[in-house]
Symmetry: C2
Subunit: 531 residues, 2 copies
């Protein structure tokens, strides 16, 4: 063990952590050892290209995603703007020694990192945040000098894998919630400060608002929340009971009165006490907002609470459901309401229309599939002024990346629905809706599809320039624009792909030319493997 880096008086512990562990050293050790190796061989500035893509949609076990929602780019760009090998960051690199006591990183390399180790030399294309994305198609393409493009890998994957994962989960929760508001409540069980990225991704992916105060204000969304069981407990312990707690809340927040009704007994105490307070509020000229149910059989309790509220003259106050919700549970609860509400004389559509969903841990931890398998693969490197495609062979053919510089298109069918994403070799003519397109499976030679022109309504390039030579060329998109992209893309999916369970598989295909290039490279690599 080396000595931990101690804070000086001038820097707080959090500031030290921020500088040392959230800047340029927010990376894997092997990125630095490889970068130094390239530096020593004068390969560090060799133009190269890496593709970032994920291999599989999240599979939550009992349910599965049919697509993902891209997210995380803007905060990655913020990180890139500021990540620098400052002297504080270089100090531990200069001090690191190997088992023989020799330094691992030379002064020459550290000096180069200090002078040139920024992402100002890198260009980046990406599928914009909020868009629907599919396995095997690049979300991000990085071109730049070999060492810096390699050094970007870890932070890029970290930011985009995580936010894409959470935006995807949020879009599923929103889909299951039938357009009712989804509130993200996951901060307390999230991964430390990664919670803020989770809140951002949830807001892009389908949450209307969040309980997370700081992140919400940062993103321009009003944070949501009312009170906890502890407030009712405190009033009980002080002898004022649940009713006293509710009265206090109504008094402090007469126009935002939403009461948590399950501290003692939802139907025999919480809802009747809430109705008492709501009536008092109305007498003072205020309309109550609603109640929150946080335990028990939420479908049954929603029906029974609605009956009590209707009977008391509050047919419009909202009902927030929370307690270990995820998309499948929400789907089931709403289905249960559909079938059960009529037995109590309630219109299920009207009941559903007064619901909101508070979704916490299972959203921000992506329960069932807590990480996205995004990878960052070298696809091309320049040699003597020419781009050479790079290949990695694998025992699993599906894991062999698509080599070389490529273009990515989305093909829409005659109904305007997206039917396939298509990768072609960059520089070859773009596919056109005037002629037939041949789609090849990425690995299976005999799985192919031909789309005649009359079946094609639109062909859309998906990757846009985001950073050109270190300079951002697009303004950050407002949150609502990212949400609109998601809504529009999801509407253009086949309903089978949107299904929560066992969705239909969307195709990411190769052009015949790209398929042939890949085969040729794989065969060459395997022909004389020891070379």
């Amino acid at each position: 063990m080396s000595n931990p880096v101690e804070p000086t008086n001038a820097r707080s512990k959090r500031t030290l952590r921020h500088e040392l562990a959230e800047g340029a050293l927010f990376t894997d050790q092997y990125q630095l050892t490889m970068a130094q190796l390239y530096f020593e061989r004068d390969l560090h500035e060799r133009p190269s290209q890496f593709d970032h893509f994920f291999r599989t949609n999240p599979n939550y076990g009992s349910h599965q995603a049919g697509f993902c929602i891209a997210a995380g780019l803007e905060w990655l760009l913020d990180w890139m703007d500021e990540a620098r090998f400052t002297e504080a960051a270089l100090a531990p690199l200069r001090a690191q020694t190997d088992a023989t006591g020799a330094r691992v990183f030379s002064d020459a390399f550290c000096d180069w990192l200090g002078e040139m180790g920024s992402f100002e030399s890198v260009s980046l294309q990406a599928v914009p945040e909020g868009r629907v994305v599919h396995p095997g198609a690049p979300l991000t393409v990085v071109r730049g000098p070999l060492a810096m493009a390699q050094l970007l890998e870890t932070a890029l994957l970290n930011h985009l894998n995580f936010q894409t994962l959470i935006a995807t989960k949020a879009s599923r929760v929103a889909e299951a919630s039938r357009s009712r508001p989804v509130l993200e409540f996951g901060l307390r069980r999230s991964a430390e400060f990664g919670a803020n990225a989770a809140t951002r991704a949830a807001l892009i992916g389908g949450a209307q608002a969040s309980s997370n105060v700081g992140a919400s204000h940062l993103l321009g969304v009003t944070p949501r929340g009312t009170h906890a069981h502890s407030m009712v407990q405190a009033f009980m312990a002080l002898g004022e009971g649940e009713l006293g707690a509710f009265r206090a809340y109504a008094d402090s927040y007469p126009d935002e009165c939403l009461l948590l009704v399950d501290t003692i007994d939802t139907l025999n105490s919480g809802v009747p006490n809430a109705i008492t307070v709501f009536s008092e509020l109305r007498a003072k000229g205020h309309e109550p907002i609603g109640i929150r149910l946080d335990s028990g059989d939420l479908a049954y309790l929603a029906i029974q609470s609605a009956l009590q509220l209707d009977e008391a003259g509050f047919p419009d106050v909202g009902i927030v459901l929370s307690s270990s919700l995820d998309e499948l549970l929400i789907f089931q609860i709403l289905a249960q309401i559909d079938s059960e509400a009529p037995r109590y004389g309630l219109d299920p559509a009207k009941l559903v229309a007064r619901l909101s969903m508070g979704v916490g841990s299972k959203l921000t931890a992506s329960e069932g599939h807590p990480y996205l398998d995004g990878v960052y693969k070298l696809v091309s490197i320049e040699k003597e002024g020419e781009w050479k495609p790079a290949i990695k062979v694998s025992d699993t053919p599906a894991k062999t990346p698509n080599p070389g510089l490529k273009s990515l298109f989305r093909v829409y069918d005659e109904r305007g629905r997206s039917t396939a994403d298509l990768l072609t070799i960059a520089g070859t003519p773009d596919p056109s809706s005037d002629e037939a397109i041949e789609l090849r499976h990425p690995t299976q030679p005999n799985t192919r599809r031909r789309l005649e022109p009359e079946l094609i309504s639109e062909i859309e390039p998906l990757l846009v320039d985001v950073v050109v030579d270190g300079r951002r060329v697009r303004d950050p998109a407002p949150l609502d624009e990212m949400r609109d992209r998601r809504v529009s893309d999801i509407e253009r999916l086949d309903p089978g792909v949107r299904r929560l369970v066992n969705p239909h598989r969307y195709h990411v295909s190769l052009s015949p030319e790209l398929f042939e290039l890949k085969q040729t490279l794989v065969e060459a690599a395997l022909a004389d493997p020891k070379d």
Copy 2:
């Protein structure tokens, strides 16, 4: 939507995020609405106590934890030291309005937050980091003025839930790895900057080292890593092949030469090329470190690689296994080596002794159970100078927290093994090993156990004072001390509790007096629920 907070020129976007979303506003909205309600009723300084505990051990589906490892405290204390309601943090609170356009937070309350809104008034007891902890027993106890103790909830849960979750997973991976080194490689698929907390927790819980450069240096651990497939791919595309890549690596890092051998074909290319380079290295007076296997059947490939390496005169170089490892897969791989290695004339113990485990996403995302269900419950509040126990009733009796001020002990049996954790009412005489102890199940009146003095070897109080009136009273523990606590505690567990699958259940019990208090409070709350 309100307007997003825009950075001024003086502050970068990351600094703004740090200030706004990682400081005092790293909380849930309802903590602030409750705090204001208490402030308006002059209850904000009322002494109160909250217990933090988790309800269930992680259940990963096919395997289950029998205990957890406490972690996260030190970084929570760092956060508490620095979290302040600065004017930057108060500005969005002052600006927030409700549906009628009225301000949500008054100037009086915001001013009070600005002046008094720190954790300097709070005291905190905790079970030290690294120790074995069990469901239902408090990990942390917070005492302080009601508003600030409540405002601490979200950040406390966030820090301790997450690091305890990851330390627990790491301890399981270490257990399955039979004391072979575990390396944490999860940064790229972790939750943004929460990755650093994951690295810290993994190092406490059982990882020997991490690939995470910044966090490792911050914690005084040398980061680990060599090279990726991309380096081999680059040399292949440049016409120098895998062998050229390996030679370059050995040249740059002659005393740390560990080669990734699966870019093309592990047994027909990677290992033979590695052996060539290892022989060249040895001729120059350097001993190679090892190879890394990152795909395929790792047990089979480890055996075959070992055979090739042995044959070539490298019986001692290490073999690092990676590729979607978790505790159960490691357990299976080692069991497969135990049974299969002898068929090839290899001693399995010798083969296992040269292995290390690189564990990534499944460790830092706690695959199978990605969040800990830790909660923070009001257990007592002062009224007229006297502590009043607080209760929350629940439809699920197991979810009713244990009320009042309590002490927590660990009871060791005659073999020196921990046999139960015991909660008693604070102020009652401590249990003694000189007399019998009666242990009551937390909810089932007829489940009880009596421990005679001859069956008790030690009774240990578990909670220690960490913060007294805002002042830290213990120095931060070095990493090795936290690791020693874990090793020592795990050794004193029953082997059945340590089992990876379907572990034996450890008992957290109540004293008879505490059991009676709880029953009395529950009955009183339910007797007249509408009061």
